[in-house]
């Protein structure tokens, strides 16, 4: 959070300004409502998936297939809605949501069942399903970019009274998903079991935690979040194609890790995933806002991820040692 604030402050100071094309008013290039909501919107699709991916990571697993599930869910939704033709907006939204989430759920359940049933590491299973699922999207859509009905776009791009070209819906969905994810992880038995399995699987087994079921559930959650992100993404951008979200799985995992999730399991949070996604998008944003050469984008993002994680670890170690000293004194 501190890093995000500092980066935001730096961007606000050094971004410069421009005259608004319509009003002629001088506007800061970063600190304006459009850029802030745009940044949150850009982060929202990663963040929604990152909340689901974080649950998997906390359980000690990993899900490389989220980008492909996003693509398949979006394509399937767009194809079904296209084949149904004209329907009223409410039905279109309901059908689209059910299909996107349903595909996400199905893919997640298959991932979980394969991981548990075959006893193979989730990295391998989801690496395989990553290609299979994208292949299905490719074959199914014949590689077309399929437009979604206008009703979906109107929903995702509703300004909710904020003004023209300000679209807060993806950001609101991101926040809602993060809250739901936090409640699930912190307040429910299921969430605590996820931490238990990721922290020490053997101890959990002896404590009677149904490890197989927990593992299936975490992949279902991850699939669900990818399906929801696909619904939002396809609705917001107005189309879906099999190439959507290519490579996003790495951004999603990076968001979770930057947000404090431990790849060895047992640690992480939904809020951290959201902040991680926002930080990564903000870093990308800063490359352009501060007029760095675009060609350095990958180098800068890579370095920033390493630095963010190292700083987070150092901060955790410092806090732990401070608490240890404090308890020793008392």
């Amino acid at each position: 959070m501190l890093v995000i604030l500092l980066l935001g402050a730096v961007l606000s100071i050094f971004a410069g300004s421009h005259a608004d094309a319509r009003t002629g008013q001088t506007v800061n290039n970063f600190l304006n409502s459009y850029t802030l909501i745009q940044t949150a919107t850009d982060a929202s699709f990663f963040a929604i998936m990152a909340v689901g991916a974080t649950v998997v990571i906390i359980s000690g697993g990993i899900d490389l297939s989220v980008g492909s599930i996003y693509a398949l869910a979006g394509v399937a939704m767009a194809m079904v809605l296209r084949s149904l033709g004209t329907a009223d907006t409410a039905s279109t939204i309901a059908i689209g949501l059910v299909i996107a989430i349903g595909i996400g759920l199905l893919c997640g359940a298959i991932n979980g069942a394969l991981v548990v049933g075959l006893g193979v590491h989730p990295f391998i299973i989801t690496l395989g399903t990553m290609w299979i699922v994208r292949g299905i999207a490719f074959v199914g859509s014949n590689a077309e970019s399929i437009l979604v009905p206008r009703g979906l776009t109107q929903l995702a791009k509703a300004s909710l009274g904020l003004g023209d070209s300000l679209y807060p819906v993806p950001m609101m969905v991101m926040v809602a998903v993060t809250v739901i994810g936090s409640v699930y992880l912190i307040q429910t038995v299921g969430g605590r079991r996820v931490f238990a399995v990721g922290g020490n699987a053997e101890a959990s087994r002896f404590s009677g935690v149904p490890i197989g079921r927990v593992k299936i559930v975490v992949f279902v959650i991850s699939g669900l979040s990818a399906g929801l992100a696909a619904f939002m993404g396809a609705s917001f951008y107005g189309s879906a194609s099999c190439a959507d979200a290519t490579g996003y799985e790495l951004y999603v995992i990076a968001s979770a890790v930057v947000g404090g999730a431990s790849l060895s399991g047992g640690k992480g949070s939904a809020a951290g995933a959201l902040l991680g996604a926002v930080l990564i998008v903000l870093i990308r944003q800063s490359i352009r806002t501060l007029h760095f050469d675009q060609n350095y984008e990958w180098i800068i993002i890579g370095c920033a991820i390493i630095i963010a994680v190292v700083l987070d670890q150092a901060s955790s170690r410092f806090t732990t040692s401070r608490m240890a000293r404090a308890s020793a004194k008392s």
Partner: protein, 341 residues
């Protein structure tokens, strides 16, 4: 407890930052930052910054910006916002970002027309005109498109290939990114023209990631799997940016490809690609920026469709084309071609 207070303070500060921005179009910070000079800032968003054809478009755009700045005494700036890899969603995000940061116009080659149409319309609604080049978004509110007629380009590729192969034999189509609408049209054009040659059989259409290495690897894989292939209709020059295919036997395999960048010239010289249909990719940037200047600064009318003509490059005009590339700023044109006729 202290941690909680600390976190709350940070959260509050973040919220304050957000609300300050949402409540004001001109926050206090702006008053300290220097306002941008009046001029023309064009956001150039090509498909991928790893594709050399778009780098030449950038060179052309920057050259036009320099010329216009000198001629009209109006500072023209090119902001290069091209994503590293093809991604329509990222392009849509960058259009919005360009507008948010004060671009006066956007120039884009669309990776996925469906994905960017909404963002283009949003930009236009916010007073920022958009022009497309190379790959159009015809359903959007862009004011002009500059590029080749893709169906016709595909047809020309096939007709040239048929002439090279004596109008008979098996061919493959190399098609690049399957989501790009312009490339799909070129494939359609190839197939339409192929229908006129009953002795030519299309083995299949092959899509690939649009990097030189991926494209070259795809050609090698396909050629091994289908040794009967005698001709390649390449609707983009991707694999010819590598030297991988220089091993092909020009007596057995002929290539006709779109694009004619310096790296491809060796294929013409060796007879592997006896014909290149070069898109003057430098002009994508050069002409488009001039048209944007006409529209935005000079308030002139610009045609909605500005056709680009392909240049046929063969051994006969290899030297002339090489010199043209050099003149356009390409630094990697081999000297041996510059001295040719």
């Amino acid at each position: 407890m202290r941690d909680r207070v600390h976190r709350s303070a940070l959260l509050t500060a973040a919220l304050a930052l957000f609300l300050t921005a949402c409540n004001s179009q001109a926050p206090p910070a702006t008053q300290q930052a220097p306002a941008a000079k009046p001029g023309l800032k064009v956001a150039l968003i090509a498909k991928s910054s790893t594709n050399p054809v778009f780098l030449s478009a950038r060179t052309g755009a920057e050259a036009a910006a320099k010329e216009l700045t000198q001629k009209h005494n109006v500072p023209v700036e090119i902001a290069w916002l091209t994503p590293p890899t093809e991604d329509g969603q990222i392009q849509a995000q960058r259009i919005a970002q360009a507008v948010n940061e004060g671009a006066n116009a956007v120039l884009i080659s669309c990776s996925d027309a469906g994905k960017v149409t909404g963002a283009i319309n949003d930009a236009v609604a916010r007073g920022v005109p958009v022009m497309t080049f190379d790959s159009d978004a015809p359903e959007s509110q862009r004011f002009a498109f500059y590029g080749v007629d893709d169906i016709k380009t595909g047809q020309m590729v096939m007709e040239e290939l048929a002439a090279q192969m004596g109008e008979a034999g098996s061919i493959a189509i190399l098609a690049g990114n399957q989501n790009a609408p312009n490339l799909r049209k070129r494939v359609e054009g190839v197939k339409q023209a192929a229908a006129k040659y009953p002795k030519i059989k299309i083995v299949d259409t092959f899509y690939h990631i649009e990097t030189p290495q991926d494209a070259a690897a795809e050609v090698v894989r396909v050629q091994n799997a289908y040794p009967q292939i005698q001709g390649w209709a390449m609707i983009g020059g991707w694999p010819l940016f590598t030297q991988t295919l220089l091993d092909l036997n020009p007596k057995k395999v002929k290539i006709v490809a779109v694009d004619g960048l310096p790296a491809e010239l060796a294929y013409v010289e060796k007879g592997i690609a006896p014909v290149l249909l070069a898109q003057p990719t430098y002009l994508w940037g050069y002409e488009s920026v001039k048209r944007i200047f006409d529209k935005v600064q000079l308030k002139q009318d610009v045609p909605k469709i500005i056709p680009m003509e392909l240049v046929k490059v063969t051994k006969d005009n290899l030297g002339t084309w090489a010199r043209q590339l050099k003149e356009w700023g390409f630094t990697d044109v081999p000297d041996s071609y510059l001295s040719m006729k």
